[in-house]
Structure formats: C-alpha cells, structure tokens
C-alpha cells in the first residue's frame, strides 16, 4: 500500500464532521481513519461494520432489482448522520457528521472530500483467503459470546481447537460442516461472507 492520506488535513474546515473511515474491501479492514478528539470510537470496529453495511445494502438493492454501482448509504440516528460510499469496488469511505449538519451541506462536503480522497487511495492486491478463514473471521465479528466460540464449534463439528485455529487447512466437506455450525450459532440461513 502507498502512503496514507493525510486525513486531518482533508477534514480541516469541514463543518460538522466527526469521523472519516477508509475501509479496504472485501475484508473490511481499516485502511485509515480520522476521529474528532471528543469521540472514543474504535476505527477497526467501525471499519468492519461499515464494510458489511455496504455489502448488505448491495445485496438488498439487488433483491429489489434496483442495484446501481453508484450508490450511497445515508443513515440518520439521534446523534449522527452517517454516509457510506463504495469507491472503485475496493474501498468504502464512511463519513460521520453531527446530526445538526444540514443534509445538503453533508452531500456537498462528501462529494468534495471523495474527489480529494480517491486519487490518493492505493491499489490493493487482495490476498486470496480460504473459506475457512473467512468463516472464522465472520464468527469472531458477529457471534454472541465470542469468548466461547471455539468450544461451541468443537461441540458442534467435532473439529479440534488446533484445526479451528488454523482454518486454512479445512477440506471442502469440513468447510460445509463449519458453515452449518456457523449458521446455527448466528441464527441465519446463509452466511454473507
């Protein structure tokens, strides 16, 4: 990866901005972030969920037959407005503004900031991760009682803890067993990895 963008310089003077997060896809890894000094947000944690949000949004729009590559997710909560934008297919940029910032101003700022961020983003070579590794990562992120996940998987699959801690070595039939257990733990019919 190339040198990180200077995010503090980028956001200087932008009214109402509270956080800026650059997430590298497809693994939702935090590439860079800036957070207002009054906030105690964890960049890594935010990056994961923003990446997953964009992914889920994409699937939802496909289901509505309304998918467009050029989409933007805006979330309004009591305290903040979040805008997420997928760029180039390999990054998600997340902007967090104070709720009092007018939406029109936010959209304008987002467009300007994206124009400055985009040229500075590196080209990412995605390391091919095994399905087993992806499932274990997913569980680590989303399973309740994550402290108990390994033992829960041992009970449900019969795999050893060594196997589960080294998921790259799973055969296809074992992956299917692992996936079934993961779906059971998460209460889902499908894993969106």
């Amino acid at each position: 990866m190339s040198e990180n963008t200077s995010l503090p310089e980028l956001v200087s003077g932008v009214n109402g901005i509270l956080g800026l997060f650059l997430t590298a896809m497809p693994d939702c890894l935090l590439y860079d972030s800036w957070v207002n000094e009054d906030k105690s947000w964890s960049g890594e944690e935010v990056a994961i969920y923003f990446g997953d949000l964009i992914r889920s949004n994409r699937e939802g729009l496909k289901a509505l037959q309304a998918y467009s590559a050029d989409m933007q997710v805006t979330i309004e909560s009591t305290d903040v407005i979040v805008v997420l934008k997928e760029v180039r297919g390999d990054f998600v940029v997340g902007f967090v503004f104070d709720k009092s910032t007018p939406l029109g101003m936010i959209r304008l700022q987002v467009t300007k900031l994206l124009a400055r961020i985009l040229p500075t983003l590196p080209t990412i070579e995605v390391e091919k991760r095994t399905q087993g590794a992806k499932i274990m990562d997913y569980l680590d992120r989303y399973s309740p009682d994550s402290h108990a996940v390994i033992n829960r998987l041992i009970l449900q699959t019969g795999f050893s803890s060594e196997q589960l801690k080294n998921p790259d070595g799973f055969k296809q039939s074992e992956i299917e067993k692992l996936e079934t257990a993961a779906k059971s733990i998460l209460g889902v019919k499908e894993l969106r990895l």
Binding site: P144, S146, N151, R152, I154
Partner: protein
Amino acid sequence: MRTISKQTDFIYMADTPVIYHCHHFNLFLDQTIDDALGVEAGTRLKVQVASTTAYQLLSNLVKASGAETVMERLELASTYFSGMGHGKLAITGNKEQGKAEGSYLHYGFTWSQKYGKRINRLNPADAFATGFSAAALEVAYDLEPGSLLATEHECIAQKVKNCHIDINKNPSQNNDYNIVTREDAEQSTSDAIEGQFEETVTNVAKGLTDFTAAVGGDEERGIVEAFGVYVTMHLSGYYNGISYQALNQCKDNPAILQALGELLKESGHVCVFNTFGGMLISAEWEGLVGKPTGDPNDLIAYLTAIGRALGFGKWCIKEFVAGEKFVLETSSTYENAYCNKYYKNQSHPSEYFVQGAALAFMVLIHKLDWTQPIDLTPELYDSLFKGGLGWKVEQTKGLSTNDEVTQVIVTKA
C-alpha cells in the same frame, strides 16, 4: 416454604433443592447443552429433566399446601412458577392433553433481551417452562411422572408476542425419575468446615440470605430484575440433570467431553461476572454491606459469601494470598448432590461450576479497579475472560470422587 440448611447452606423450596442463578448463566448453560447434543436431542433432554424436577417440586408443594382440586394445583403451579422468577404460565388441560400460554417466560424473554437485536433464534428457548407445564398437569391429575410430553411451538425469542406450549400423552413413557431429595442432598456432604475471614463470610451470607427471602417475581411479569440481571430461583436438579447427562452422553469422545467441561467451567465465569459482580456494584449491596473498596481480602470474603447465599454450598476460603493464590474448599456443592446419587465414584473431580467460579473470583478481584465505577458489559467480560486470563484453576479434590472436601486451587498462569 423456603428453608436453608445450616449444615450445608443448601436452599430448599418445599424440600426440593433450589439455587439462584441469573439469565446469563441460564441461557449459556442451555445453549451449551444444545451445542453438545444437537438442538433436537438437547431440547428433548432439557424438557425431560425439567419435567422430572418440576414434578418433584410440584408434588412437594401439593403435599405441603394440601391443594386437592385440579384448579388449586394448577394455580399453585402458576403461582410458584412466577414467584420463582420464571415468568407467567397459564396451564389448562385434562389427563391426556392441554396447553400452556406463557408471557415473559424467563428463557425466551431474556434471550430476546440479550441476543435478539444481534441474531435470530431458530428454535424455541423455553425448555424449562415446557417441561414444567407437563409436570403441572401430571401432578394436577395425579398421573405418573413422564405420562405427558410438552412441546413449545412459538416463542417470544422467535419474535412472536407470547409463548405457546402444547401438552399431549407421552408416546414413549419415560420412567426415569432421577431426582435428588433433600435427604440425598444433605447426605452428599461431609462435616462442615470453616475458613479464613469466616466471620465476615458468615455475616454477609446471612444478610444476603435474609434479603433474598423477600425476592420474587413481580406481579405483572413474574420475573425478578435485580443487580442488573434477571434472577431465577431454579431447580438444582435441572442444572445437574442436563449437565451430567450431557457429559455422560459425550463420554466416549474425549475432545468433545473436554470442550463441554470447558464450557461448563465457563458458565461459572459467566455467573460470577454477571451475578456476583452485579451484586457487588449494586445499591442494595451498598446498603447491606457497604461499597467495596477494592481490598482483596474483603472481596474474596464477599464473593464467597454470595456463593453460600445463592445456595451453591458452604464455600470456604481455605487459603487466600492476594496476587498469588486462592484455595476454595467446601464440604457441600450443589453439583455433588446429584453426582453422589447418579454418577458415584467418578474418575476425576467434575464440579465444573465451582472451578469456573473460583477462577472468576481471582479475575474480578485483580483485574478490576473497584475504586472506579464499573459497568459489567459484554465488552468488559471479553476483555477479562477472552484470551489469556492470567490465572489457572485446578480441582484437586472432589466430593464427587469421594474426597472429604471439594477443593479448587487458583494460581497465576
């Protein structure tokens, strides 16, 4: 109808062994059984054990209260179900079939509170209430235990308004009536011992025991919200039955058996963190005992006292050196009451809950700053108990292996 044994600190409801546990422990244990056996077999076991142990409780209550008619007995069952903090359960039916409508059922309701926003639930959560419903009808009509079989079809944890349970004749009458009576429990123990800080432990335990005498399900919901958790007075036979029968079913697979034991031990961490920790930081504790200052000698005494007051056994501090070592000894454990009757002469000590609890004591004492406000969040739990704990525990003696005491030793890892 609640009595406490001076010898063992065991608690009884109409001579049926009971203990207090919070929803975190209850959900974690039920989930562990399903993980070990599969949801179908796990549910079958939980419902069957619930039915058996509830039959014991309800029979004893009927005997003690003199309830004669079907209506009186069903009313008694519903009243005690709510009083013990399990929610509202309205049971109707005849000798061959019936139904139960539940609201705020402890397991389903607390599951939806704890997990419902994060994950979906694929199967109903109220195995205990389900088994209880069948037992209530059996006792109401003087049927044999195991005559009826109940199934929960809808559960609040699956995002419906209330829980619905159907009760029918049991097609495969199960004659296993594995219960532990008061006599069994008292006989499973050895002579009471004392330990360090005994006066503090005894006095605090007494104060807590007096306090919990007044604790019961609220009128509207039949649940007990206290110390930041949902508390139940529950049947020790249920916990022991599902745990030890699951262990027995897994005994031929060492890796599975070990993982199951680890999770049963972890249930001790979950309980101590949420219930014991919740008690220590509560306003009620401040009124009863005073705010903890962080003095390790005080904390170990308080935690031990809580274990006694909740009915886990007469836990004692054999040895405590802050920062180094904790030896918990006890002449009575609620787990051994069951093992002594049904799984005698075990090859190794297997009182997993007390192992996990003792370890969690040391983690709480040494890793938390008691001079600052403490918020017992899942994130804090993970930071304390996920990954390297800094402490390790070994059960060196067990009432379950015919030793004179149960002894667990916690030292630095």
